[in-house]
Symmetry: D2
């Protein structure tokens, strides 16, 4: 009885706290806007985020967090911890850019560096909102003597490099109770969406060079091996489950036409809503690759590049985030931002609805066609997910339009929404043990006994150079 009363009192207290917190965060947001802009300018691709991670680490160190870096052999991975005891609440932050998406913060296509990288997925905002949330929470915990441990995870190379997998393998997530994640989007709200499990690899064929006119029969063409593999995969498409995705490019198709190619490389992704089903499909892709080598008398080597589980949603965490997001509210544009948004939308006719950035959407199940290494974390620990409207409604990720938004005030406003959502949700988790318990119960129910196992081999080194073509 007494407990209930106390909790009710705490709840009342918290409600006041939350309102104050939102006001306080508004006043602190300009600093984090600057941090996000710097990382936007760094625009560093996966595993090369040296300046970006240094900036985040220095902010956290200055705020009093204990930094650990590197993690699991990844120079740009780090953790920052504050507090002690239970619960252990984790906030994840990403900061890698995408190749080819260099773009100025203007509503028309204008690369800063032709062909250079850019923040087309808004990860400059992602890492910075998480930083903002972490520092804000630490101040609140210190001020209110809140028990528990807060951890920030600096997670590199989300875009195909699988940074979180190497951090988890190194034990960096041990002891965590609940993980909080978010992602830039064109809408606000708690997320229940799943994603596609993915495995990606580079398939390398090694043949025997020969003069292609003088002695083609003395050569063994690595390109032939790759072509036969590719065509075998096309035949495979008919005989695998619906909703599978297999897509590949040829990253090396031979050096010069007059030499039988002794080297060729394919970079391939395979995806499916379920990892165990994907495992079976992957076995068959491997057979196609081996068949290419067999038929062409070449040698094939596969280098696993990335792997990610589909996201396991969590019902009670989604409900909690939803409740808090409704306190936070959406994004309101100034006249100039409205004009920017309208100009952007003209480049994407027929998509989204301007104005929806002001709303908070209810959580909905379903799955997106994207993949993320946050998926793996969601099969290890209860994970909350939220979206914030950092992009003009209708702007898809991995576009120059999203890169433009991520570098100006629209992106920064969305970032503040995200940071607020994370903070309010963490406040609940730190002060209401029942929320953590419910999150864990939902986690167990959803995974239904399935034991997570990383698809990355135990001795596999992080592909620190996966953004380079051999």
């Amino acid at each position: 009885m007494r407990v209930i009363l106390l909790l009710a009192a705490a709840a009342a207290l918290l409600a006041d706290d939350k309102t104050a917190m939102l006001q306080k965060m508004d006043s602190q947001s300009p600093h984090y806007g600057e941090v996000s802009r710097k990382i936007w300018e760094f625009a560093e691709v996966g595993y090369k985020e040296n300046k970006s991670s240094e900036l985040l680490k220095s902010e956290l160190k200055q705020a009093g967090f204990a930094i650990e870096a590197p993690i699991g052999g990844v120079p740009t991975a780090f953790t920052a911890a504050w507090g002690q005891g239970k619960p252990v609440i984790a906030i994840m932050g990403e900061y890698d850019a995408l190749p080819g998406l260099s773009q100025d913060a203007v509503p028309e296509r204008r690369p800063i560096v032709n062909g250079g990288p850019g923040h087309g997925c808004g990860h400059n905002l992602l890492g910075t909102a998480s930083l903002f949330a972490a520092v804000t929470l630490k101040d609140w915990m210190a001020a209110h003597h809140i028990k528990g441990t807060l951890r920030f995870y600096g997670t590199p190379a989300e875009e195909g490099g699988g940074g979180k997998l190497y951090m988890a393998r190194a034990g960096a997530f041990n002891g965590v109770d609940v993980v909080l994640s978010w992602h830039p989007a064109d809408q606000n709200g708690a997320s229940m969406a799943s994603s596609l499990a993915i495995i990606s690899a580079k398939f390398r064929f090694y043949g025997k060079a020969a003069h292609a006119a003088a002695a083609p029969d003395a050569g063994r063409s690595a390109l032939d091996g790759l072509m036969i593999m590719g065509q075998s995969i096309e035949f495979l498409r008919e005989h695998i489950p619906d909703s599978t995705r297999i897509h590949y490019v040829i990253t090396n198709g031979g050096a010069a036409p007059n030499i039988v190619p002794d080297y060729a490389e394919m970079f391939l992704y395979a995806r499916h809503p379920s990892m165990p089903v994907l495992d079976g499909i992957w076995e068959r892709i491997l057979k196609c690759a081996r068949a290419g080598a067999l038929a062409s008398e070449t040698r094939m080597e596969m280098e696993l590049i990335d792997s990610a589980y589909n996201i396991l949603p969590n019902d009670s965490l989604a409900a909690l985030v939803d409740k808090n997001m409704r306190l936070v509210g959406g994004v309101t544009y100034t006249a100039w931002e409205q004009s920017f948004a309208e100009t952007i939308r003209k480049t994407l006719p027929g998509r989204g609805q301007l104005g929806s950035q002001e709303k908070v959407e209810p959580p909905r199940e379903g799955f997106t066609s994207a993949s993320t290494d946050a998926g793996d974390i969601s099969w290890m620990y209860p994970m909350a997910a939220l979206s914030a409207a950092t992009f003009v409604p209708g702007v898809p990720p991995h576009s120059w339009q999203s890169a433009a938004c991520a570098g100006m005030s629209i992106g920064r406003k969305g970032m503040v929404v995200a940071a607020k959502g994370l903070v309010l949700t963490a406040m609940d988790l730190f002060t209401d043990p029942a929320q953590v318990t419910a999150a864990k119960a939902d986690f167990e129910k959803r995974r239904a006994g399935y034991e997570y196992r990383s698809r990355i081999p135990a001795d596999h080194k992080p592909p620190l150079n996966y953004r380079d073509n051999k």
Copy 2:
């Protein structure tokens, strides 16, 4: 000294004999014309030559030959022997027809049975000329008390069935000193031409049926396996020696579109002027077949259908045949035959030269793009080869035009030329041991220590039904 005198005397004697022999054969030729016409009408395909082989056997039996049949598990194979002791001279005769070449003996396309078989390679003449020669020689040997053994080989299924290989494997050729062979053609003369070594096989893929609309992912397509094999072979073409030939058809490409095919079959030939080189190419074809099965998760089985060495020419035998063919001379047309020939030639514009059938061509090295199981025999024993103009000049084998010629007087005249050439050459071999010795010496020189080994596995049964598609 004395030997020389005797041999000179023998030579003189023989010259008289030969002239008489040619006259005698002219008088006996009508009977053999009728035999050849009957076999032309039987038109039985490989390993099904029941009536044809029965007719030949009955002729030989009646002439006093000792018949042995069947040979090596082949019902239509037989040998017929006469005489005893050395030398042992073999004459080979074929009598199988070709599917789809049914044709009346008229100079325009007119099948007797639509889609039925016909003697498009003139084997009705082949077996009968050899019969004619054998019976004639036996009479001469008996009359002149010639020492030695004469053997007739009834060799079925030359057109892709490899009958001679199973006869040789059964030991039927043991003890032979020299083999005489001939083939219908559009010219006369001793032959020094080689042929292409060949290996042929049926590749069968076994998958798993499934409803192609309801559950394509539950099926494993045998047709996919075959298609991937086929395409792998196309890639192979660039990286094998020039002059290789690989050609295939799909003899079973699935039963019905709405079922994932659980069975598919490819019938493939590979050829090259050299058998050891072909062995290497064959290994790589097998890899393509295995790759097809691997990539499609199906099972592949290969059934070897046929194999033949390239022909090993024999210089001294060619010289001997050439000498005798000049005694025999070519073919002269009547006015009606000339008219028939001219009509035929209009269907084959730009080929050959009418009149050349009257000449005897000198032996020339080179190689034809055909393959024959006589090739294997030529690597086991010294083998003579000759051609006779059974076809109008310019008419290629395996055409309706050659089937037409083989059924009328032009074919029969060429057949008599062949029979005469065989007889005169055998007379020399029976009476002049030096010719046999020279033939053997040339044989050893040409094969240069290479040990013949049949490409048919020891336990492989004759493909008696190779003309049926499964």
Copy 3:
């Protein structure tokens, strides 16, 4: 007011009628069991159903129907009409067998004729139940002076031949108000399921023959054209909407390996839940076929074989059928039938549930992966559909198990269920104009203005020989 009273009276009358009707039908069922068995024994494939259609026509003629035949150039298509005026109610009946499914009426695989056709889709029952219903209804209409026209449609070649399309094109369905259809199944009930729209065709490639060893460069391979088309289609699979199905077999892959094939043929089906989407996919398949011809310098001809729309369900007709099927009830097995069913089920482990044949399932939306030319009719006229458990639960169509059931008492019991369902539903339609009106309203709502257009070209002749391979 008066009308309502009359209708209420009619309804009461009808309820009595229906009970009597079901009893009467039980007593007449043996005769129709014999008819179905005869057609089962005829086992005639599409467009060759001469004896089957004659038998049905003679039954209908004897019952007083006016027969019209042939229809639209199809010898085995016919209509049988009775009565006059509105409404016009159509009942469709099929009677074609499937190649390769010859099977005795025993619970183990035992073909009557090896490789011969059999009633693996139960169309012997389909046509006969419709006959049974038509004759029963006619008697009832005559006895009760029911106004309206009853038409029986003898629709051949449902299995890939598209018989109904040619009948519709010839105007045979003009004036129909509602169409009643049913299909053998392993359960009973009204059907709301849609099906897959389908287009099928034979793609024929014409090249230039040449000796494959002597002059491969003089040949143009029809098989190459087909192989390139096939491979191109495999590449297509990635870039077409999910739920598409494309499946093909090679019905002619060349005559003999030593000839460059001058003819090759592929038989291909394409399917999708929506015909307009399928139209777009079909255009792209055609481009693949043209690409095969272009790259191989061969000529391609497409012969459209079949086309069928997805079924357009009708809500109010489904409700009406459901109501009547609940009066009819399911199928009860004797001890021997139960034993037969159990033996059958052992050959199909893990499927269906024995006993469910006694129930009547509620109508459910969704779509099956089958295709049927009834789909076209459903886009032209309101169409009711029902299933009856002619097959042991768990037995899929197009299996030897279904062919076995279709030839014995289990199949015949299901057939009676179907006939009863058709009769009771037609009685409602003939006596209650509101039912017809409601059916038409639902029809208009579902098709939403889409104008049906047959995918068969106006001048396309029925493919009367589509079951023969060229």
Copy 4:
């Protein structure tokens, strides 16, 4: 009569001249050795030979030649002329390096710049020997008042860029009587060898990008177009004349696996001993490319990169060169060079015979599997060709071994042999009009009325950036 006497006197004079000339050239050779070494160090690839061409131009300008540059829009092409009137004798010089063949002048694999270009075909020697010959001839013409015009052709980008074709198209060769050419080799002698006619092009496919997981059906894959083209070409191989060569690499196979590639590029060479035959093959390659675009709904553009005729040998010029090369003699190694040569040969077991560099080989017909734009010139004007042993016997062109030789004394000694051969031959041509007449007569006889026509379209710009991949 008088003419003959004068010519005889001239011949005697010339014999003395030639001996003196060879001695004089030996004394001047060190300077040209230095020039060749500088160009070897520049190692500039096709159309980028800025420093190399500048060096050659400055040497020729200083010697009194009139320089014309650029030619036909090619910055590194030039001509240098001296003298006037007839005959007009041309000497061609090349100076482009090969990508990837950077190599120090040592007998083991040691790149100077990893992956950088190198003179693996000895063109640093080629251009310099021609320079040496031109300057020497000019001095001799001036000293002896020899009538006629001497022209030096600085011909860039022989290795796949077709520099000579653009120079000829610009009219730079107009008026030439005889062209002298040579090439570095591993032996000395006049050359009668032909080469392979070649056409090369980049095939570019343009599709439509789409997210490969979210909307693969919205994309049109440029890579699919390219893959289908490639596969179609593999099928083509069976049905084109023997001795054809088709070889390709994929220079752009898509940007990233998660995007449907909207761009892909193949770089393809086709070759055959006869240009008219190659024309026919090229038409069929184009069809394969169009088929790839058709089947994948992408757009294909071909950019012709290079084209070269097979070399037309000239009998009388070959005899003349042969006569002079016998005066010149071969290359003698020092002990150190011998040791260098032996070390090199250990890296190429089983090739060539050390010592043969001292001999002069007689001219022999046949064809090499290389291709050169000198082929086009040989179909426009009578062309002499000679080889000199700049490479250790057994060293093939386009190898690191040849790049090593080209940078040290062995290469330079061979270069002097070539320069001498060119000089003596030109002396004959300038002083004996009958030699020019005979060369022209042979030219007419060999080309037999065939009218040369460049395979480069009239409006085609030189592919100055062909060494860059897009």
